[in-house]
Amino acid sequence: MGEAILFTLFSLSAVAFALGMVFRRNAVHCALHLVGVLLSLSGMFVLLHAQFIAAIQILVYAGAIMVLFLFVVMLLNVKGETPLLTPGAAKGFGFFFAFIAFVELLWIVVSQGGTEGEPAPVPALPPNFGSPAEIGKILYTTWLFPFEVTSILLMIAVVGAVVLAKRKFA
């Protein structure tokens, strides 16, 4: 029962925060709402036996990436937009496409589920599922090459960011 309650709580807060993020005018508020979504998702990760990912979610996503966002928002001092949304037909098309996409995703989730409309049962998991040790094991064996590639990607990003930020614009 505990999981169900927490799931309801986290999912509601995640969706509410997400809506707030998309429709708030003030960029700082948007960023804070996104932090709210991230924290809710972190809670859901714990429910899903992904403790390490949950911790990383807070540490990296909420703690580092979003702070960076906040920084930029504050540095740029972007005032609330006028108007908020894209004008004209693009907005209508945007909502329309997003709606269709949602219906399709819904369709997939429902149709690909368990037999006869019943949701697939949740399997029992080993006790150390999602622990840092287990993550480390497969990360440094099966996924070693992608891992190294990712590290190179990050380095490239760092160099790119520094170059972009340092360049003097005429």
Binding site: V28, A55, I58, A62, G63, V67, L70, F71, M74, S131
Partner: protein, 328 residues
């Protein structure tokens, strides 16, 4: 999730909370006293014996002060920010073991609020969330100095968090666990400050910077930024920031004790007492630093963090990794 567990947890939460709330005035008093003596003054002595109640009196004063909110401020965020600061500090403390198991009413009660198996990540995560309290406070005031102070502070915290985390990783490499209780358990024969002295030094320096204490207290450099991010804060909200700063000092000290100084371990005295003694010594050290060192310049601070501490911590990690790999 039986009822006993709930009660037990609630009690522990209350104990920790009460300890922090009562401890902070004591620390403030100690700070003023110690600095006073170091500067050849006496320090507070009027209110209560040895001026012990001085901080309480200050707190009461703050409580009754008028709560000013700047006209252009973002009210919600303005309220939220100091609360965020305090909450993260408390949450971080919840995973620190402050004593061995005790047996109460036939139950084995481990003396920490929660034994999270990713405790160190938890501490790092919550302290990184603490950045929000400061940066948002600075922004929400809608005033130049606080904004600058807030940005400075968060840049500083993000920068030093890296080296701090990495210095902890070398200990994690040795112990193979992320749980603070587990790390304390492995220090039965030797405190980790012995093999990991450099990691400790790096951790401590980063910790001082993380808590924005002297000589890294740039965000509130009154000579240039008035009072930094909390310039516009007054009354209880100011008190909350004040509380948060000292609570954060306690977090850093408690983590340092657990990771490098054997936690609650020690001979003769009960574990909790040892923990408190070590904590007091650490806090004294913080105060001592403040009395001794002048403030760094901002560029020096950033350069020190990125060009000295971070490489040093990486080097330490590499050496540890090699040693661990070789000794198995």
């Amino acid at each position: 999730m039986d009822a006993a567990f709930l009660i037990e947890s609630a009690v522990k939460v209350l104990i920790v909370l009460g300890f922090v709330l009562l401890g902070v005035p004591l620390i403030v008093w100690m700070e003023r006293k110690v600095i006073g003596h170091m500067q050849d003054r006496i320090g507070p002595q009027r209110v209560g014996p040895f001026g012990l109640l001085q901080t309480i009196a200050d707190g009461i004063k703050l409580f009754f002060k008028e709560d000013l909110i700047p006209g252009q401020a973002d009210r919600v965020v303005f309220f939220l920010a100091p609360a965020l600061s305090v909450i993260t500090a408390f949450v971080a403390l919840s995973v620190v073991p402050f004593g061995d198991k005790v047996t109460v009413f036939g139950r084995d009660v481990p003396l920490h609020v929660a034994d999270v198996n990713v405790a160190i990540l938890w501490v790092l995560g919550t302290t990184s969330m603490g950045v929000y309290g400061i940066v948002l406070g600075g922004w929400a005031s809608n005033s130049k100095y606080p904004l600058l102070g807030g940005l400075r502070s968060s840049a500083q915290m993000i920068s030093y968090e890296l080296a701090q985390g990495i210095s902890l990783v070398s200990v994690i490499l040795m112990t193979g666990t992320l749980s603070l209780a587990g790390i304390v358990a492995q220090q039965e024969h030797m405190w980790f400050i012995v093999p990991q002295f450099f990691a400790f030094v790096i951790f401590l320096l980063c910790g001082i910077a993380e808590t924005n204490r002297a000589p890294f207290d740039l965000p509130e450099a009154e000579t240039e930024l008035v009072a930094g991010f909390h310039t516009e804060y007054s009354s209880m909200k100011f008190a909350l920031y004040f509380l948060a700063e000292y609570a954060n000092m306690m977090v850093v000290s408690a983590v340092a004790i657990s990771v490098f100084f054997g936690g609650w371990r020690g001979p003769f005295l009960p574990p909790v007492a040892w923990f408190l003694i070590k904590l007091s010594l650490f806090l004294f050290f913080f105060v001592w630093l403040r009395a001794t060192f002048p403030r760094l310049r901002y560029d020096q601070l950033m350069a020190f963090g990125w060009k000295v501490l971070l490489p040093a911590s990486l080097l330490n990690l590499a050496v540890t990794a090699v040693v661990v790999a070789l000794t198995g």
